[in-house]
Every structure is written in C-alpha cells, then in structure tokens.
Subunit: 529 residues, 2 copies
C-alpha cells in the first residue's frame, strides 16, 4: 500500500472491489448470478454499497452458470456469475460448457485466497486456473489492484472473440479489499459484433450454387433469428433447396409466419440419409458431424466436396445469406404446405410426448421462450414448432445435462414480460433442480413440464442399438429411475413452487391453462410411458 | 486391430472393457458409484457381463464422488466412480476436492470419445485432463488396449502416494470396445501403508520434549483412530500436555472409554488463544494455519520454533507416537473429568443445536458413524463426542460444501451393519440433495438431521466480524434462505425418503427413536433459530 493509493482511498473512498464493480458495470454487466462464499464477501459488501447490479441467489452453482447462459442467449448482454473458489466454480463448469458451445458471453468472478495466504495450501486451495481454462476464453488473475481495470477490459474483449464465450476473473481477497488505485484506464463498452464474411467467400459460394444440384441451407449462429431464417428461406426457394437448422441451436426463432425449418438429425445414419446427395451450405452452422463416434460410421457426415462453407459460427451469417441472395436472386418462400391446425387431444387419453406437444401448440402464447432439454419432447416440439405462434427455443448446446431449468431462469430474468416454458426430461432435470427455488424466490413466469418417464431413455436407445439387453439387472440398475420414482410435485413444493401431476391430456391442458395465467412458476409432472 | 488381438478375442472372448474391469477388480475395487452416459456404455455392458462389482447409481455426479469418499474413509478400500466425459466429471470435482484433502483412495473412470472422433470437437468434447488434474494424483489416458493394465496399476500406485488420493483413468470408447490384448501384465493388489517415520525424527522430537514446557499433541491422519488416540493420550499424560485433533478429520474415533480430544479452533484469533505458548507436536496433522487469510492475522498460527514435526499426513503417526512413548515413558491417561450423563432435554422446549446434540448423546447406538457437515452442529457435537458411546465421525475436509449426505451414503455401503447419522446444515445439504434418492433406492440405514436455520450462517458470522450490516437488502438477499423456506420434508418425500419435521426436543427425540429402528433412511428437518 503506497502513498498514492492512500490518496486514492481518501479521494475516492473506494476499494478494489468497488473499482471492480464499476468496471464491470461500465463494460455492460447489469446482473450477477451469485453463490458466494467467504472469499467473495468483499465483493458482496461492494455490491451492497453499489446497488446497481441485480443479484440473484441460487442454492447451487450450476443454477448460476446455466441462468447466466440463458440470460445471455435471450438478451445478448453479458451477465456475471459470482462463485466460490475452485470447488464452487467446479459446480458451475457443466453449464459453462454448454454456454461455451452456445457462444454465450459471460464474465465469471471467482474469489480466491489472499495472495499472501495461497502458499499455505489451506483446505479450499486448488488449481482454479486448470479448472476454469476448459470453459473460458481467458482466465485472468487480478494479482494487484492496478490490474483490475485492464483485467476487466481483457475479459470483455475475450467474450467478443469468434462466436463469444465466457471469460473468468479470479480476484484474491487482499486485492479487492485494498484501496483502489488512483490512476486507471476506465473500461469501455465493447458490444459484440459477428465478424463479416468476405466478398470472396460469398462469390465462390455463389459460383458453386449457380451450378444445378440439390441444395440444403444449414442455418446456425445468428442465422437462426427471424432475419436469418427469412434470408435462408428466400435462398432455398430460389435454389429449390431445403432449409435446415443445426441440431442444437443456442436460440432459434420459430413459428408464426416463418417457414418450417427442418432440424438436423441425431444419429449418423439418420443424418446421412437426411443429407442425401445434396450440397450443404453452412450458414453459421458447424459441418454435420456425429454426436458420438460409432464404429463403422464416419465422424464427418457430409464429404468435404459437398460442403459450401459460407459463414463460420461467429461470422455474420445473416449478412452473408443476404449477399448470396443478391448474387443469385432470391425467391419469396413458397406458401408453407397446409398443416393441420392444433387442437386439444382427447382429454381422457393418457399423455404421450406427441399429445403434450399438441396441447402446447394450442395454448402457447405469442413471443414465449421455450427452454428445451431432453429427447422426450425436444424432437417432437421442433418437428411441430412452425405450427405455433412466433416463439424462441433454446436447446442444450453442449450436451452437459442440467441446462434446461437454469436456462429458463435466465430467460425469465432477461425478458420478464415473456412467458417461459421449460420442456424438460426428468433425468436431466435432476442435475440442477435447485433452480426451482430461484424460480419461486424471484417469482418467475415459468411453466415447467417435466416429461416423467423415470428412466435415462437416451441410454436405453443407445444400448438397444448396440444389442445390449435392457432387462439385464446391472443395465436396468444403471438406466431405470423407477425405484423409487421421483415425485416431482413434492420436490417442487419443497422449493415453494406450485405443482401438479398430469396423467391424461385433459389434466395437462387444465394445468397448462392455469400455469400460463400465474405470475410465478408452476411445475407439471407429466407422466409418460 | 492386428492379428494378435483377433486371436486374443477369439481366445479369451474379452474386450478392452472386460480387461479394464478385471484389472480394477484385481487391484481391489469392489464397488462402483456410477452416473454413466453414452461414452461409458461399453463399460456398463462389461459390468453386466462381469457381475462382480456392486454398482450404485446416483442422480448427480457429486453424489457418486462424495459417496466414494465416504466409502474409502470407512472401509480403507478403493471404490470406483464412473462418470460421463468432462462435464459429468466436473459435477463430481467438488467432492473429489474433499476426498483429496481426506486422502481417500479412489479410482475415477471417465469415458471419452473414440480416439478417431476427438479431432471433430463434438459437442461434449472438452479438456478432461485440465479438469481432472487438480483433484487427481495422476490422470491417465488409456490410448490403446495395450495400455489398460499398466494404466490401472499406475492408478492404484498413485492412490498410494503420500496420504493417498484419487487417480483418474480416461478410457476412449474405441479402446474399451476393441478386443483385449493377449499379452498383458496383470494388476497386483497394492495395499496402502503409511510411510514410516524415521528413528532420527522420533529421537529429535524426544529430545525437544524432554525439556520442560507446555505441550499440545495435535493428532491427524491415522493417529485419529483408537490406537492413535490412546498413544497420544498416553504421551500427553506423561508430558502433562493436552490432546487436540486437527479441525477437519477425515475420520476420527471418539467416545466410549476414549479420552476427550479437543478440536483445533477455526478463526485465527481463537486458534492462537487455544495454542497459547505451548509446543505443538504434529502427529499426522498439518501445522495450524488460518482457514482463510484475514488482514492483520498470520497464515501460520504457531511459530516454526514451537512446532515439533513428528509425523506428516501420510506417515505412520501411530507408530511414531508409540515410539515416542517408548522413549519418554508414557503414562496411563488420567481418569477423564466426570461429565454430566446425557439426558433428554425438556420435551416442550424449542430445539437448539445444543439440545439436538444432547438428545443424540442419549440415543446414539454403539459403533455408529456420524457424517458431520456444517458449523451449526459440527462444533457442538465434537465438543461433546467423548460423552457418547464409541463412534466414528467424518467431517468436511476440503470445505467444498455438499459433502455430508453423499459421504453418509458411502459410509452406509461400506459398513451396512452400522447406523449412520448425518448431522447436516441446510445450506450445504442443497448441493447434493440427490443423495436422498440413493439412500431410498439402496435402503440405507441413515438418519439425516437437517439443521434448518434457513441461512448461510457461516457467511453471516464472517460478515459480522467485518462489521457489514446483515440487514442490508443485498447482503440479506445473498445470505438468507428464508424466501421461500425450503421444505426438507417435501424434498425427502420427493425422493422416497420418509421424513418428519421437528420443532421441539420432544418431537426430535421421538423422530430419532423412530429413525434408529428403520431398515432404511429417515430425514428429520430440525427447525433452528
């Protein structure tokens, strides 16, 4: 602590923690998903003094990081997480993995031991950098108060690289408890802009596509918003091609007067059949690959010579599509084939995934946001989403399960006027069920539909494909969740969330109608075969 | 795949996965705490074919790793965990951090993408090594079938280093799906032995202690078993000194005819006062340091010239203590000061931490194992444990919260004839509450007492010490859990665990009596002020 800093303290009265918050605020942060511990209390005090950032508490860190992801997807803004040392951060890694795949811009804050205490290897000491690196574009250690503002600028800059992602700031307690330095370079807001696609790339794509041939336009990244889908549809119509979306969009706009967008399939054999012999235009999407490696099937599902690489994830695929339409001439998308209007399924019949989707098509309010996790309802919904009013859908981008409920929390906070629907498989919901408490605490307008089939259905599907008998005792023990069956109504009530169980279409319809009027959350346990 | 391997397959009919399991079994593994995904299904099939290892499923990976920790502490054997890729493993890191601090010997198994699929950066691809390194003595990648047996031997050897710890094996799907090699070096059982303390060290400790002076014997590691405590007590009696235990024992034997062992305090000022001017003999314990770094207080709480370094953690502190007693002459431990016999507190009075402890002293069965997490009941119990029948206590060694319930699961599986008591704070219980489902599923004789004070009490204590007002809106929002109050009875019932709420001593006494007769779990929500 030198004389200059003492001056700064008396001049500004601010500590490192205050400067850290000022810098984060200047960089655009307005909300903090927090689960602090002792090493974060200096920042908690500063948050209290400052009062400008909304703080949202969760009972588990995976809720914080998943909520930050959902908030970033829906708002495009940069939320903060505040987590406790290495182990607390570790609990948030799975959903930061999903956020990385979604390109969600997030700044993680982790309190660390005082710099002078680290060498003593106290119980909570661990290699935070090693833990954070796999899910962070950059991991920045704020080793002294003078490093705070540059570190924050660097963190925001890192979130703007390529398609975005999280940056992680580690702040030792003595650094945020020290007086803020008098001289610093203030942080400037640096909004994210996808990188432009060069004219050359557009030209050469146009040259390829001018030749006759079957064509698929595969949308991803920013091409999954309204403008991108319209540009893609116009191009597809001009070329007589098909419009597809990447299999796990971060956020996609669907329904209303938008054309149907077919989703890329999951298993490699299905994807290969789906792609046929078409040329595949990659418009913000990664090339089709197999989700897992299966013996006898390739990883890359469309040969290189059939790929037309228009826009990488993180590039401006919308502008590139429009430029391509300008080159090739677009056509108005053809009138969509008439689809059966949604109507409530037979009330007395037992629920199925299809009947839940049908009822939701009937009731979904305009401009809802759907958080989709799990195969039970994910596929059926995305096959039918074009029949619904305009809405947005978030999916599990990285495959780390436990993403859906927290993502719904973040979406509700980003857009409080929207109705959020969480279409959620029961197995994956368990990983971050503590999100229900935050829904109740914050009074979020989320209707959760738990597809309760009481098993890890995806594992059973994979095992069946590999001819493994599902009724073997060990196999059943590791894939069936029916002993005991989880009672989601009780769990929700334990967290203060109103809940109801539905076994028939009528019960679901009635519960859904009730949920969509509530000024807070409702959980529906939908019993599936 | 070469000709030799084809021969091996036809000769033995075994795949890499079978050889992996054989090797783990030969190394001593008998139980596997599992939460598998697609990349682990080859091993799941092999587990089904083999049938020798007990598989215990959890709904969240932190339950698997915490249960493995508890199992290792109670049994001294090496359990397995089976987790899904980087994100699934990440969910288990927090409790592996605690296991590392406990020196628990564990082998983690993580399925990875096929070697030939990795380069395609599929959604679930991540840097598993970077995630695993901070909580693993070694991270071993089984890059080909020929690497399996040596890798397993190396993993068990790594768990035997110093005081023990976890080793992590990463197995790509194509390696375990390939035929097992014909030639391999079988894995041999390598039991853990703490390293001996040299005679020189004992001699020089004896020389120091032969001088008059106040003395504290600080027990840790293997000196916290019955033999260690008796040897420590004998030495303390001979020197007129005091007997202390490290603040967070992995497992300690207490009660019955064992002398009282004072626990090292938490805050630095309290530890300094507790240690006074005494020489501190480190018998398997780390030197006293501050849990966190506090401005104005040292990290090291006993100056170097007052430390007598007899046995490091991982060394045989029991043998060293006995050798020292041989040198200096031991004395029979003095008759313990008479303590008031436990008696049930006033039935109509409201519960307090002290009254819960008092009732548990009355009812605790012989040879119970207590899993202790949280400050609400941890301190009060350890102050009074000498008044109970002989029992063992596990504590949170690494400070990563969410350890208590899973550790109780592992203890119950390691010692099915023992009654397990989980004395658990409510805040920390939330991080791995899914353990309740495994308790119900496996019918474990665990009685959980949740100290429900609906706040992060430790944070409030820390903030009060720093003069931060607890009623500030932001501070209260980040430390109070009373909006809504979690209903633990409902949560337990949601997982199929019988549960009851107690607000008075009489209600608690009656619930505890009931729980201790059950052939399965009971949860008691004990409402505290």
């Amino acid at each position: 602590m030198n004389a200059q800093n003492e001056t700064a303290k008396s001049a500004s009265g601010k500590l490192g923690a205050d400067l850290l918050l000022d810098s984060l605020y200047d960089g655009g942060a307005r909300i903090c998903f927090a689960n602090p511990g002792t090493t974060e209390l200096g920042l908690v005090s500063a948050l209290a003094r400052d009062g400008r950032l909304r703080c949202v508490l969760s009972l588990f860190e995976g809720v914080c990081t998943g909520a930050a992801d959902g908030y970033a997807r829906v708002s495009g803004e940069v939320p903060l997480t505040l987590l406790h040392l290495g182990p607390g951060f570790a609990n948030g890694i799975a959903n930061l993995h999903n956020a990385r795949r979604a390109g969600s811009r997030i700044v993680n804050l982790i309190g660390d031991h005082a710099t002078w205490h680290l060498a003593y290897d106290a119980p909570l000491t661990s290699d935070i950098h090693s833990l954070a690196q796999p899910v962070s574009r950059e991991v920045i250690y704020l080793g002294k108060p003078e490093a705070i503002t540059d570190g924050v600028s660097q963190a925001f800059a890192a979130t703007n690289e390529a398609e975005g992602g999280a940056a992680t700031l580690i702040f030792p307690t003595d650094v945020v408890d020290a007086p803020a330095p008098a001289d610093f370079k203030p942080v400037e807001l640096a909004a994210y802009q996808p990188a432009p696609v060069s004219d050359d790339v557009v030209q050469s794509a146009a040259a390829v596509l001018a030749e006759p041939g079957e064509t698929i336009i595969l949308l991803g990244g920013n091409a999954l918003d309204e403008e991108g889908i319209q540009a893609g549809a116009s191009l597809a119509a001009a070329l007589g091609g098909r419009l597809l979306m990447e299999p796990y969009p971060a956020i996609v706009t669907l329904g209303g007067d938008l054309p149907m967008v077919e989703r890329q399939a999951y298993f490699p054999d299905d994807v290969i059949a789906q792609m046929g012999d078409a040329r595949v235009v990659l418009a913000g999407a990664r090339m089709p690959i197999s989700y897992f490696g299966y013996e006898g099937w390739p990883s890359q599902l469309v040969p290189e010579d059939r790929l037309v690489r228009l826009a990488e994830p993180g590039q401006d695929a919308v502008a590139a599509l429009r430029a391509l339409v300008d080159q090739l001439g677009g056509s108005p998308a053809p009138e969509p084939a008439p689809t059966p209007p949604a109507s409530s399924p037979e009330p007395a019949a037992a629920l199925t995934a299809a009947s839940i989707v049908e009822e939701l098509l009937v009731q979904l309010p305009e401009d809802a946001v759907i958080s989709l996790e799990g195969s039970s309802m994910g596929g059926p919904w995305l096959k039918n989403a074009h029949r619904a009013p305009r809405h947005r859908v978030m999916t599990n981008t990285g495959g780390a399960i436990g993403q859906g409920l927290p993502c719904a929390v973040g979406a509700a906070l980003a857009q409080p006027d929207a109705r959020i629907i969480s279409l959620q498989s029961d197995g994956s919901a368990q990983y971050t069920l503590q999100a229900l408490w935050t829904m109740a605490r914050e009074g979020l307008k989320i209707t959760v539909i738990i597809a309760a089939n009481h098993r890890y259905a995806i594992l059973q599907t994979e095992l069946s494909r590999a001819d493994v008998p599902l009724d073997d005792a060990v196999v059943a023990n590791l894939t069936k969740l029916d002993h005991p069956k989880v009672d989601w109504v009780a769990l929700a009530q334990g967290y203060g969330v109103e809940a109801v169980r539905a076994t028939t279409n009528g019960e679901l319809a009635s519960a859904l109608r009730h949920g969509l009027t509530l000024d807070g959350p409702l959980l529906i346990q939908a019993e599936l075969p």
